[in-house]
Symmetry: C2
Subunit: 249 residues, 2 copies
């Protein structure tokens, strides 16, 4: 069934599609009064709705709330350094498919690429368009917001909001300490929040790792193979999904 | 330490680099007689070696075998339909990072893209170059071979070589049956072989699923969100790595 992401919450069980979606529903899909569709509200609820009026656009009445399990049982915030090329776009797109809750770009010392002024604004806008499109394609209700570029100290100010703070640190992989992620994922409870930070290609300076550790971040390895900057968050989210969605029984 | 992938096995503890690698070692890295390097043999063993002669190229003596844990404890063959654009390249590259053993492109009925004649040959050559480069970058010893395009019946002929046969089937995701992968991964033993088949964007025809099931393939879901064709194998390999490498204790 066709699904539309509406821009405002239903009032009194009624809501309208905007001009663009109305055009799509009426002229592309040829829906008409009496037809049903799924709507996702800005707060991420899913409803079955029926078209009541198709004259000046699509007006709908809400029929019932639908159960949807497309969101990870835990909230994972992906924070990542600024990599070259389109790597952040890959993280935005595939992270959304794999259940990422939101994405925070972070300026780290070893980043090869820098975002400044207008460029930062354009990049973030583009990443938000990517997560929106990917959320719709993967049938998620929640569209992961991409936040403005943070400094490392901005990020550290957010630490108190999370139950688990992790940093994916390649040097730990070298040291063959692979049990930290498992330790966290075997304890995590539904509804808890994880903040996971990933470096760019350049990784981290030791003083950044030290600041992170002082703020309560635990280093975790993602296995014995070196992962590219854009692959590491996908591996991480896949492991979270596997543990909390596939292996929960 | 610099690592070279040599083309022939050492004989009597001695081996030479080929012309290109010799040039790189001597003229780019400025190595000379007495310097040490790591070498990976065609059979995937890792050795420490020392340069004994640098006149007409690099000649080496093998010093000792090194322990390396960069290979997944289970062999995962990724078989996948022919997707559009560069999606198979993404699977080749990131699958290699995530520990894929080899890659089999399979022609499925709903593939949007077709490989025929010369095009198939070129595609497979290109994918082999990608897995080679990715294996070196992620410090793997084994370079995942990419096989020639298989028909579904070619693939079914290989089924007997594997301990587990899985097909990632989106319709199962819809039905909320998420426990099959966990069931398999909680039983799999070191050294066993998994063949996992993924559809292209178009997925599978029901008669293909039926043939697969008759050949012993089990359908498995990769969670409640719809994953793109190139994301599904990465999710799968990440889950295998998590279970067999990070959560094994």
């Amino acid at each position: 069934m066709r699904r539309y992401y509406i821009k405002s919450e239903p009032v009194g069980g009624k809501v309208a599609l905007d001009k663009k979606d109305s055009h799509h529903a009426l002229n592309v899909l040829r829906l008409a009064a009496g037809d049903e569709m799924e709507i996702v509200t800005p707060s991420g609820d899913l409803f079955l709705a029926r078209i009541t009026d198709d004259k000046a656009g699509v007006e709908l009445e809400v029929l019932e709330e639908l159960v949807n399990e497309s969101e990870l049982p835990v909230q994972v915030t992906v924070a990542c350094g600024i990599s070259k090329g389109d790597k952040l776009e890959t993280i935005a797109q595939k992270g959304t498919e794999c259940g990422m809750y939101d994405l925070i770009p972070v300026a780290l010392k070893r980043d090869v690429s820098k975002w400044e002024g207008k460029k930062a604004k354009n990049k973030v806008e583009r990443l938000n368009r990517i997560t929106e499109e990917a959320a719709k394609q993967s049938k998620r209700l929640h569209i992961p917001p991409v936040w403005d570029l943070h400094s490392l100290s901005d990020l550290l100010h957010l630490a108190g909001d999370y139950d688990y703070l992790l940093v994916a640190d390649e040097e730990l992989g070298h040291a063959n300490q692979h049990d930290k992620l498992h330790e966290v994922l075997s304890r995590v409870q539904e509804g808890q929040k994880i903040l996971a930070l990933f470096g760019s290609e350049g990784g981290f300076e030791r003083d950044e790792i030290q600041k992170l550790q002082e703020a309560g971040f635990q280093s975790c390895s993602l296995g014995p193979r070196i992962l590219r900057a854009e692959t590491a968050p996908i591996y991480f989210l896949s492991a979270v999904s596997y543990v909390t969605e596939l292996a929960k029984g």
